[in-house]
Symmetry: C2
Subunit: 157 residues, 2 copies
Amino acid sequence: MVDREAGRALLHGLGPVARGWRQAADGALAGLDVSGSAGWCLVHLDSVGAVPRQAELALLLEVSAPSLVRTLDQLQRAGWIERTVDPDDGRSNRVTLTPAGKTMAGQIQARLDALGDDLLAGLPAEAVEIGVELLQLLNLRLAEERVTRLSAQLGDG
Amino acid sequence: MVDREAGRALLHGLGPVARGWRQAADGALAGLDVSGSAGWCLVHLDSVGAVPRQAELALLLEVSAPSLVRTLDQLQRAGWIERTVDPDDGRSNRVTLTPAGKTMAGQIQARLDALGDDLLAGLPAEAVEIGVELLQLLNLRLAEERVTRLSAQLGDG
DNA sequence: TTTGATTAATTAGCTAACTAATCGAAATGG
DNA sequence: CCATTTCGATTAGTTAGCTAATTAATCAAA
């Protein structure tokens, strides 16, 4: 049985910590002319071997497709990615890093990793493992909850 | 030593889970005409015995003062809180729940608690404890990081 | 083969957070 | 005792997420 108070602390604490992390990430990338979310997108693009379509990339980054559109617009304006129409499917864009974008991705990754190392320094690995599992479970249950909620909405409306 | 991959999973996972939780909370409050953040504000107001000033309430809720202003505007329009100028300090507002607001706070708390119980059902209490401690530590380190970052900014700019 | 449904990306508009700048009130130093 | 500084709340403007609706392309089926 989970203590009511602890449960509240966990669920409420997520928001502020997530915001703090985003701000810290933005700060770590200051001077690179890239926001944290855009930077994270570059890093993922660099680490996946393949050339993903936008929808796949959105899944990977856990954001909605329209949110990704705006991020990619920024990255494209900056000359760090390119969108090319998939030859096999005229609806899809394939997203690739430009050489400049690849360089940038490396710098971003280095800075974010350094920040992450600082934040998590000295922690027992098990605690982090448990935290990750907790987040994964919550993600799963929230997804289920979302399904039931949206179904109910359909039933009502 | 924390595994690099696990660290990334933890830090990156915070955002999506926090968003999911907020959406689920909004869903749970559907029909009450109150957003999750405003509802959370009401619940806190109900649970603190005292009559806080806005700045104190912002600290408690871990949001900035301007963010709280908007939330309070909504709650005040709905007739659930009142702002009264502190007799001892003409700059400060004291925030109080109206009777209607108190009723509303009770309903909100019940729904959020039910949602929280569902999400955390069956979890070992220790895992939640560890999660909470992890969040608290991150909060602390992020606050420190923020200080050093803003100081550096001053030095530069 | 043409029509209808589905899918990918986009646009438009909303929300809730943030910072920076402003205004009035209080505190403080000369 | 006045001038300056500090402090609390607000306003204005930015950012990043979201949903809903649109457009274009593909797929399926009559």
